[in-house]
Every structure is written in structure tokens, then in C-alpha cells.
Symmetry: C2
Subunit: 337 residues, 2 copies
DNA sequence: CTGTTAGCGCCTTCAT
DNA sequence: ATGAAGGCGCTAACAG
């Protein structure tokens, strides 16, 4: 980097205005006593010189930054976008600013570096608090308050927002049962995450309690991605006796199933019923029956929780549960034996 | 903020490991010579203490942060999301990280504070370079390299990525002409932005060159928002002689027009043809004929440009133009007089 | 190979 | 009402 231009600092302003740095600081932050006249002069110089605070330096000194950090694996993912929406809404209400930190893609999984980075952000005083989506990090002593969205199964500590995954999947599977489906494929999610585990357990329990046998070949591990859904969808639909319905552990994966079905000549819902999870905006257009986990709300509540943490350092509730809702659309049809 | 917990610093690590701070620094950043043995010991201490770099301090000292900043008015807007997608893709390729900075909502328009904040970010060494979407800021001496997406009409300086707005709108209007439409409503965009100005000029020129009269009542100022589209849509369709087609200056506004049309009993495309601009993903589902300005690509190219700027401080091309493409879908129908 | 030291730009006492 | 001076945590010379 060749750039050597140096920005104008508080010292430059002080010199130009013929005052001390602390006076300039007072003017900038509007605290402490400054004579009207001095204030005026300093303000002018600031304008003239085009001075602007250096955030890094500022946050290093002072406690409060009025910034809330959002750490996400992938800004491209609809879940994350929806969540951002909620965070954004809360941010506006709270008059905070938002810094979203991401390494661009969940797949770039050089975990060690990642984790290190995450922790750095927490540690830095660049944000007053942080929301972590899909927490992968080990446990560590966070300096800033942290709220996580979803939970890591291995380190379930700390305040979090999470949907009633279990209940949601139960409803979804019961819905399929009612429609007469018995051979139901399951495409799993990340098993390090509470959501992945809970959804799978719900699926298994639904069968157990209904006294129905679970077919191992119909339960595939997966991920919360389109391509996982696609791959697993292909596998399921290529079985000698393919399932009549597939539950995908999120809508992205469900989209993948759509793709797989289309390629293999299965029509939805005629030949195959599909249920997803999340209710991303696209689901409405797809006519996908899915479990709404009110992602926007998760982001909103998470941010509010974080705010309380920042203010009082005292989490009222550790884990905030968001009630899921089954949204029935056109992707499922009765199955007649 | 009551929190006084102090994080473990590089000094703590140095002490605990019985080495100097610079050695620790070398280990962390993997540069300079450190004996295998020392490296080992320091690494262990780092793990034990749960040390993590303080980003603020780091970026204050060093030139490079490997962070690219993206300043957006509104993370919620489909345009911005699409753009983010492209930036994100480039980020991954370049092995940078991404910090997205936003004040949550374009409507929170306390411009002065905003601008000040923007400049602060630029000034701070928190990011190696910055991409500004919809630049509102005055001209100022930026310390970090900046690439803007779209251009402020008042300060059109600096490298930027912008679509061929003029050409795009011309094509769109010509399309409507060919379908037989003559009474075409126009809902404008932000006129501080190059895109807003260019699109409007193209609309006017299309009529002029076709030798058709422009009806003032059919040309409404607007914004790039749903509600603007909705309001203006209502106005246009409530005219004694409503237009047979409406060009909305972006897809969000077009969505608003859909809403207005639906409320007033206009069917699209039977009673009203609609064209948008942007080609946001939703447009496909809506069946909206629109001008694709390849927003993802804009983000991608912008980031690449920025990268070059960071590396060489020498912008090869100042303004990168993205070719628009007319995407014909079902929202337009021939109009027979 | 490793330690010491001087700032980076700012805010905050503490004097004046 | 204002100025001087001491760090915040870190990296980058410069010495050993």
C-alpha cells in the first residue's frame, strides 16, 4: 500500500485554531465547558480542514461506540438477510449503528482463523456488543456482551435467541402424517447447532410416538444449504422406493429439493410433498409449506436483548424462545395409499 | 456501561510467556523470526489466557487491516442486498474480510451526523478501502480509497461503478412504444443521484425523439422505494385519463405500483403494463419486465476496482459502466387504441 | 532470534 | 474555561 496521505488529526485542528487538543475534543463530543466563541472558531476550523474523528483511536480510548456488531457466516444467505432486517429495525429504534462482520462465505471454513477473528472483534472495543449468528466459536471470555442466534450444541452458554425448533418440526411432520404420508425423507441440518439437533430429534420422536418405523435410508445428514438439499434430494428420489414427502431442515435445502425433483421428473406436490423450515420470503413465491421461525423477529429480539445486556450487564432471561408457526401452502398434497 | 472487565492484552501474554511484546506480536502475525520453541510457548500462553488481538489498536498502528468497508443506507433494500452479494463474492476471492456499515435505514436522514460518520469511517484506518452505495456525502479528502456505486450528481468525482441507465431506460420505453403504448406514466428516482437524473432524461428523450408529446401530469417525482411507487401509482391511476403503462424507476417502486393497481382494480398486464429497473430477484417471481442492471456484478466490479486502488493507488478507469439488459417478462401487454 | 521503545489519534484527569 | 500529559493496545524500527 503506497498511500501515505495522512489524515488531519485533532492536533492539526488544535494548532490551526490556536487551542489545546482537549478543547477540540470537548467541542467534538459536546461535553465540558467551552466558551461560545471558542466553540465557534474550532467548529469552523474543523469544517475548513475537513477533520473527522478516527474511529479506531476513539474506540480505543472510550468505552462506548454506539455500534452493535453482527457476526454472520454469510451475508448471501436468506436466513441471514432476514435476520439482518430485524437487527436493523432494532438498531434504528435504539439509535445505534450497525457493523456487520462477515468473512463472506460459510464455506471458507478455516475455522481457526475464523474463530480468532471473531474473538478479536469481541475483544476490540469497536462494538459495544455483538450478535453472533450460528456461533461456531469455542467458549472464551468475551469482553463485550454477546447474544447468539441459534446455539452451538457444544457450548450452549450465554444469552441466545432460538426458535421452538422441536415443536415446529413436530407440527410439520404431523401435518404430513395427516395428509397420509408415511415414507418421509429427512434432510438434516448442521449437527453442531442446537437447531439441527432439535429438528432431527423432533423428526424421530414424531415417528416413534406415532408408532411408525423409521427408515434409515430416508434420514440423511445435511446442511442448511441449497446444494445439500439438492444432493440429498437426488439421493432420496433415486431410491428404489422413494419417499412420498421430504422434510428439509430449512428452506434453502428445500429449494435444492425442488431442483432435484424437477430434474428427476417429480412434480411437486403431485409426486412429492415438500416441507421446509424458516419461511424465507421466497417460500411464499415458491408455494412452499414451511415452518415459520420468524427470523426477522429473532434478529429484533436478539438486538433488544443485547441492548439490555449492554446497559445493565444483567441478562433478564438467558434464552429467548421464538414460537414457530406452520405455514401451509401448496407444496404438500394428500397421499393415497 | 458498567462493564470494567479488561481484556487480556499483548503485555499480559508477554509477561506470562516471559518474552517481550514484540515477540508475541511476531507470533501472532507470523512475521519475523521466532524460534520454534518460543513460538510454541507463546502460542500456548495465548490459548491459555484466551488472548485475542484488539482490532482498534491494531488498525491504528498498521496500515493494512484486510478489511473492506461497505457503506450502505439500508441493509433491508433488495438492491443493497444484491450488491452485497457481489461484494461478498469478490471479498472471498481477494481473501479480504468485509465490514458493512449502515445506519439501518435510509429514512433516518440526519444528514449531517450521517456524513460525519461516513467520513469518520473513511478516515479511520479500520478499513483499507471503502465502497459507498448511493453516495450522499459532500466532497472531502478521503484517506482510504473509495469506490462509489452510483454517483452523486453534485460531486461526481472519484472512481465509481454505474450502469448504463440512459440506454436501459431508452430500451424499456422503446419496448413500450412498440407495444403501442403512448400514455406512459413515469415515477422518478432520487434526483441527487446520477441514476435518477439519467433515467429521467432518457424517458424524456425517448418521447422527444419519437415526436410524441410529454404529458407533465404523467411524470411524477419519486424515490427508489416501495411507498413512493405506491403513492405515485395511486396518483397516476386516479387520473381522469390514466396511463396505459407505467415506468417505475426501480423495481421497489414497481412493486408499489402493483399494490396501487391491485387496490384500484387495475389488472396487470391487462389494464396496465409495468416496467421496472434493477431486476431484483423478486422481479422474476412477480413476472416483472424490467431493466437488469446486474447489481451483483456492480458490487463485484466495484470491489475489484477498490482492490486495485488499494494495491496501486492508481485507478485504471475512473468509472466502470455496467451494461444494462432489458428483461421481458409478463407485466407488459400490447395496447390497442 | 529477541527485547526496548516510540508513537498511532484520541479522551480524560489534573492543573491552571 | 482551557491546556498539558498520560495512557488505551498494538506494531515497527532499532538495538542487542
Amino acid at each position: 500500500m503506497a498511500r501515505t496521505r495522512r489524515s488531519v488529526t485533532i492536533i492539526d485542528v488544535a494548532k490551526a485554531a490556536g487551542v489545546g487538543v482537549s478543547t477540540v475534543s470537548r467541542v467534538i463530543n459536546n461535553k465540558g465547558y467551552v466558551s461560545e466563541e471558542t466553540h465557534q472558531r474550532v467548529s469552523e476550523v474543523i469544517d475548513d480542514l475537513g477533520y473527522a474523528q478516527n474511529l479506531a483511536a476513539r474506540s480505543m480510548r472510550s468505552q462506548q461506540t454506539n455500534l452493535i456488531g453482527l457476526i454472520m457466516p454469510d451475508v448471501t444467505d436468506p436466513f441471514c438477510i432476514e435476520l439482518m432486517r430485524g437487527v436493523s429495525r432494532a438498531i434504528i429504534e435504539l439509535d445505534y449503528d450497525l457493523i456487520i462482520y462477515t468473512n463472506g462465505d460459510i464455506r471458507r471454513n478455516d475455522s481457526n482463523t475464523r474463530m480468532q477473528q471473531y474473538v478479536s472483534i469481541l475483544n476490540s472495543s469497536v462494538a459495544d456488543g455483538v450478535i453472533i449468528v450460528i456461533p461456531l466459536a469455542d467458549d472464551f471470555p468475551p469482553v463485550s456482551p454477546v447474544v447468539s442466534i441459534d446455539l452451538n450444541i457444544n457450548h450452549p452458554s450465554g444469552p441466545a435467541v432460538i426458535a421452538t425448533n422441536y415443536q415446529g418440526v413436530r407440527e410439520a411432520i404431523d401435518h404430513l402424517f395427516e395428509l397420509g404420508h408415511r415414507r418421509i425423507g429427512y434432510i438434516g441440518g448442521r449437527m453442531e447447532l442446537m437447531s439441527g439437533v432439535q429438528r432431527q430429534k423432533a423428526f424421530e420422536d414424531a415417528f416413534k410416538e406415532a408408532g411408525l418405523p423409521l427408515d434409515d435410508r430416508l434420514m440423511l445428514p445435511g446442511e442448511f444449504t441449497f446444494s445439500a438439499g439438492y444432493q440429498r434430494g437426488l439421493e432420496l428420489l433415486s431410491l428404489d422406493e422413494p419417499p412420498t414427502a421430504i422434510f428439509a431442515s430449512n428452506d434453502q435445502a428445500a429449494k435444492g429439493v425442488y431442483q432435484a425433483a424437477s430434474e428427476l421428473g417429480f412434480r411437486i406436490p403431485d409426486d412429492l410433498s415438500v416441507v421446509g423450515f424458516d419461511n424465507i420470503p421466497e417460500a411464499a413465491y415458491m408455494g412452499l409449506t414451511t415452518v415459520d421461525q420468524h427470523v426477522e423477529q429473532m434478529g429484533y429480539m436478539g438486538t433488544k436483548m443485547l441492548y439490555r445486556l449492554i446497559q445493565e450487564d444483567d441478562p433478564e432471561e438467558d434464552i429467548y424462545q421464538i414460537e414457530t408457526t406452520l405455514v401451509v401452502r401448496g407444496s404438500c398434497q394428500p397421499f393415497d395409499h
